[in-house]
Symmetry: C2
Subunit: 251 residues, 2 copies
DNA sequence: CGGAATCTTGAGGGAGCTCAACAGTAGTGG
DNA sequence: CCACTACTGTTGAGCTCCCTCAAGATTCCG
């Protein structure tokens, strides 16, 4: 079931975009800001566990996440699901659908989400008018690619425990950098079912694997989600570390 | 060991680029062609199984594959390797390294390869001067993303036989569309070790899995590579089909 | 209050792993 | 030119990690 936009009017002006103040996001020039501002059509408020984009659809819009957690996934004919990646504030959603003929994956909200809505048809003018923004889009796509590379390495070559530790460390990092997590809020809003479908494991074995991590004091499972207790411990266990903080673009 | 360019001079003029005549590649405008032509620094001839780009390096160049097969991979500290994707003519190589600080994966040649060499520092001017080409780059990155999504689904959720069938069908499709394969030449130049590291399986089990496919008459393993006998059979077995042929860009 | 998710745990089975050995081929150096 | 070594492909045996099945406890939600 797709959630329809509750509003067509811009609520948050791009000039007051809360993401601008986050460390790690690059600054816009005034003309870029003006362009993005009129590129933005409105906002989409998505309920928790609602579908934002669905595989096979030809969407007229693309989105940027303003707030909330979500995830991208694909399913096989018989229902087997693979979660591909998670989305947090600052991430683009639906760029593939805007460039290719149709969406090759679906997107669902983990929490209530707010998304900025952009017109697909105006995408090309973004490249024409503001080369810098076009460059940023390519950057974003390349970064998503790098993340998927890492996930592929993880699923293909890491053991269950290493995989889970990697995923938790990865989500913690993304949460912190996007402002969804902080020193005091370290709660990732996923079910073990989500984790199983991300790790390529059965739900039973995912449960037993997460228990091992909990027994080591690295995490705590509570309130339909996961509390990160020891990010460094997770990184050590998975032999993975996030890349250093750098100025990243967003639209 | 990195292969050094044997020549700095452009051998094949962009105007005579053999890829231009391939079905499925979009046509350039004359001014685009002029730009790409002077964007191109020269050609790199890589020997079979030589390393073209290495993880962690800060490359001053990016490349387009003109001829030959190659692959991208990552390795864990203890040597476990995961092949992420294969590269064929028309594919960009090293775009990540050009956009991010350094390469997050390595690239190796499966056969002798020819690559067009571009200057990393001039990449931004491509976006400034030719919005269409910038758009194409984003398209290429988004397509790579879609492929990685599919691989992730495969490794995470398909059985060994399905996975192998998917990979073979996928490579056959890419080979045909890039001109590396044809009705008469259906030979993919990989070892079973490459397949194992792509599928996330051990080499022994990969061998036994490929045997099952060979026993079904779908493939034939010979001369250090794989002969595709029945592409449709592979597609059916993996419940995967390539997307329809469409005008795709290249640089 | 009842049904549907979600989390948990135990038991048994199987897909895929490691170890091991061998054959065929390619590459290399004396 | 041949011997030697490295790589590749193949097959068997036993083991283990992870799967499925099953059942129960807890929480959420209508």
């Amino acid at each position: 079931m797709t959630t329809e936009p509750r509003s067509n009017v811009t609520r948050v002006s791009c000039f007051d975009c809360p993401l601008r103040s986050l460390a790690g996001f690059r600054a816009f020039s005034e003309s870029e800001l003006n362009f993005v501002s009129q590129f933005k059509r409105g906002e989409l408020l998505a309920d928790s566990s609602s579908t934002i984009l669905v595989e096979g659809a030809k969407s007229a819009h693309l989105y940027t996440v303003l707030s909330g957690w979500g995830f991208r996934y694909k399913i096989l004919e018989d229902g087997r699901r693979q979660i591909l990646n998670y989305v947090v504030p600052g991430d683009m959603v639906g760029l593939q659908g805007a460039l290719m003929a149709e969406m090759q994956h679906s997107v669902e909200a983990l929490t209530p989400m707010t998304l900025c809505v952009f017109e697909r048809s105006k995408l090309y003018s973004l490249f024409e008018r503001h080369a810098g923004l076009g460059f940023d889009l390519t950057w974003l796509a390349a970064r998503e690619e790098a993340i998927l590379d890492e996930h592929l390495l993880s699923i293909g070559r890491r053991s269950a425990v290493e995989r889970a530790a990697y995923l938790l460390g990865f989500l913690y990092d993304r949460g912190i950098k996007s402002g969804m997590l902080s020193e005091t809020n370290r709660h990732i809003p996923v079910t073990q079912m989500h984790f199983a479908d991300t790790l390529g494991l059965s739900i039973v074995h995912t449960n037993k694997t997460l228990r091992k991590l909990a027994d080591r004091g690295l995490i705590l499972w509570r309130e339909r989600g996961c509390e990160i207790l020891d990010p460094e411990g997770l990184q050590t266990l998975s032999s993975w570390a996030p890349e250093e903080l750098r100025q990243r673009p967003f639209i």
